[in-house]
Amino acid sequence: MTANSSHGAPVGLRAGYALMFAVALLWPLVRPPAAHAAVFSPETFTLANGLQVVVIPNRRAPVVSHMVWYKVGAADEPAGQSGLAHLLEHLMFKGTPTVPDGAFSQQVARNGGEDNAFTSYDYTAYFQNIAKDRLGLVMELEADRMRNLTLSDAQVAGEINVVLEERHQRVDNNPAALLGERTSALLFLNSPYRRPVIGWEHEVRGLTRSQVLAFYRHWYQPGNAIVVVAGDVSVDEVRPLAERIYGVIPAAVAAERPLIDEPSPLTARRLRLEDPRVAQPAWSRHYLAPSARSGDGRQVAALEVLAAVLGDGATSRLYRSLVVDGGPAVSAAAMYDPTLRGPSRFTISASPRPDVALSTIEAAVEAVVRSARDGDLAAEDIERAKRRLIAEAVYARDSLSHGAQALGEALSVGLPIAYVEEWPQAIAAVSRDEVIAAARAVLDDAHAVTALLPASGREDGERDQAARTTGAVQ
């Protein structure tokens, strides 16, 4: 189970394979920043067994969001076992000696709570949103399954079927998602980010109970976890609970995570997916880029501003050049997510109007990129983008979950709390010269990956008319 039930849309999106895409979509809300004040003003302490606890007070409603972030994800899977971290996430709901299969979510629900989980490249996270007086209960449940998971072969086999249906729904039914998987595999030559979080189907089918348990025992331990509590609580209330409930878990040998970086990209690469289902074509280009972990902080902030200037919203450069005034595209955007341990990417994407070739889109994007590299970026546009980014930090404070999400994610990839809290100042300090320099350093068309999703050429509705009515499907 896991996570992500059918309609947990935001969580479902975050889970899994669609990481780059999903994070980009959620990013404006998830990301930190605010003028010169701190953003979420969290407090933190670490238990003797190594478990870090972060508390983010938010008094709007008498509820808490309790999250456990494990510093392990799909990037940490052994070769040939793609999808293992995500399968484990599902299986974490399958029971312990004291909390049998299904009882975890049942107990949360009976107490008026919601629970779910999600997996990414660098982390796996579990959460419950619940009345604040039930915080101890959900801590007990999470502490229990941190070390006491039990699994049968039948449970693992059954859950593999569920994960395959998840994969079919999210990826195999969606040509753009299929192309996205292959694009990552081509962009990242060496980083494990080249494998989909949800796993390649043939490898998911072969995952075993012993592989799952070995992975679990190695990574799921207090020294490799972060507990984030956001809501109507203070650190003085959380600390004794955490010490009593999580503090008794024995410390274990620290798990080592290698940082695997990319060789320099010497070649341009292209891929093209021909799929008869495609009715709306799409074009995208992907540039290897530094992450906040792997790169220089000023350049990373400049890239965030660059993404906003080039491709965030109706006043962005790409939208104005490609979409407005009879331009060749129906949409155009740029995305960059620096919250990763390993290398990141800068992506530009656009969808053509019906009568426009993908090559026309490509030429139009390249012209915009060229002008950005040539320094043709208006100071006014850069300042507007910075203002919007900084405002998002204020908006993020308005919600219970965004602070927990932003801090959990940052800490899981090895960034400090200050990265989140000082993000607005970092954005405010970005200069026009730095944005242009970042464009020159990263937007290198000679070393990028270009992904083409052409239309199949069939007429809209053709197959719909072939639909038949039958009572025989049962």
Partner: protein, 433 residues
């Protein structure tokens, strides 16, 4: 956005309404001025204001052959208004970091605004301009039409969207609810700028407007906004009457299309929001296919059989009809098994109803989780609007959990046995190739 997304978000919104109590943070002030009314929840903890609004009357008002008119109108209000053309308007929003957007469903036309408190006056000015003086210039109109048509092409690739559209067309034959909110390629092509102007003049009127405001703002500021809106907007609009309809029951239908996984969408007639048994239906649905990871269908279809990643059901009331709607995705070769399990669970519910334990668990979940809806100003503002649209009363939030608590096993089982009927379940499957 796709019809499915729209429907799901509507559903979720309704569940929330149906959900509960909560917090002193929801001290609602009714602000009435100039013939308009807004509900306000002041919260000065963060310098942010969220405003939601709705005009009664949505895509069901689209004239035949112009399906998608309301949707296109919703995409156009922030594409130029007053003296500001599209780019000037969007630049103004961006300069102020104001988020403004409009959307539509079958029964209403919605607006959402979020601003920093320091930009309140300018944000409200832009909102008023968008509502009262939209330009509907040719350039943005073609651009928005292209974008919506591209969205239709993408939706065409998605089995669940295809199945849901087919289902609505089948169970609401010859009725506006059966026509696609997003329109079709041809119907969008048929919409003119005059159609958009007519839409705004007839539908965006004060008599149809409800507002919810949450955040760092005072009653006096909200009153000033109402007074200004009262000056800007026509007092009354004109809307054709829409007939009530009971959803039809149709034979199982297959939309054959290439898909790795088939989408199964199913529905039967439901209860309107003002039905005395609606709250009991909410409780029953929670047991059958409600949110979370514990419902019967989730257990039977996913946990026991691994047939699907997700499955859910939800009450889906409209102004003029009602459904109980559900969906799942399942392997093409296992569609028959999945549909059989769904029908079996429908039959079991209709025959046996709920157990005491299931009733108690569902009530505890629904009441206990209600405060979770009150954690962001935007979601609270949307709730204030939804409660007004459904005319549930300004005290609804404080009453809601007691309404859930009051549902007895007899109530729940009356709904389960009288309403749920496997023979009235219409099923559409998209996939198979």
């Amino acid at each position: 956005m796709s019809g499915l997304l729209r429907t799901l978000s509507l559903l979720i919104g309704l569940l929330f309404i149906g959900a509960g109590p909560a917090a002193a943070a929801t001290d609602i002030q009714r602000i009435v001025s100039g013939g308009l009314e807004a509900w306000l929840v002041e919260d000065h903890a963060t310098p942010v204001i969220s405003l939601s609004l709705a005009f009664r009357g949505g895509a069901a008002l689209d004239p035949p052959g112009k399906e998608g008119l309301a949707q296109l109108a919703s995409s156009m209000l922030d594409e130029g208004a007053g003296d500001l053309d599209s780019q000037a308007f969007q630049r103004r929003l961006d300069d102020l970091a104001v988020e403004l957007g409009f959307e539509v469903d079958r029964d209403a036309f919605y607006g959402h605004l979020r601003t920093l408190a320091e930009n309140r006056d300018e944000a409200f000015s832009l909102l008023r301009l968008a509502l009262s003086r939209p330009r509907f210039d040719a350039e943005p109109m073609e651009r928005m039409r292209n974008q919506l048509q591209a969205g239709l092409r993408r939706a065409e690739e998605d089995p669940r969207t295809r199945a849901q559209r087919r289902l609505f067309a089948a169970v609401f034959p010859e009725h506006p609810y059966g026509r696609p909110v997003e329109g079709t390629h041809d119907s969008l092509a048929a919409v003119t700028a005059d159609d958009l102007r007519g839409f705004a003049a007839r539908h965006l009127s004060g008599d149809a407007l409800v507002l919810g405001v949450v955040g760092d703002i005072t009653a006096a500021d909200v009153k000033a906004l109402l007074d200004a809106l009262a000056r800007d907007l026509p007092v009354a609009g004109t809307r054709p009457a829409i007939a009530d309809i009971t959803a039809a029951v149709v034979p199982e239908t297959v939309v054959t299309m290439p898909a790795r996984q088939a989408a199964v969408v199913f529905a039967q007639p439901g209860l309107k929001r003002n039905d005395p048994d609606f709250i009991a239906l909410t409780v029953v649905n929670q047991v059958l296919g409600g949110s979370g990871l514990t419902a019967r269908l989730f257990e039977e279809v996913r946990e026991k059989r691994g047939l699907a990643y997700g499955i859910y059901t939800t009450p889906l009331p409209f102004d003029h009809s009602a459904l109980i709607l559900g969906a799942a995705g399942t392997a093409n070769e296992r569609v028959g098994e999945t549909v059989a399990v769904i029908r079996d669970e429908w039959r079991r519910l209709a025959r046996e109803g709920l157990t005491e334990t299931e009733l108690a668990d569902a009530k505890r979940y629904l009441t206990g989780s209600y405060p979770l809806r009150f954690t962001a100003s935007g979601s609270i503002a949307e709730m204030l609007v939804a409660i007004q649209l459904e005319r549930l009363g300004v005290d609804y939030i404080s009453r809601r959990n007691s309404l859930i608590e009051a549902v007895t096993l007899a109530d729940a089982n009356r709904v389960a046995t009288r309403l749920f009927d496997p023979d009235r379940l219409s099923v559409v499957i998209a996939g198979g190739l």
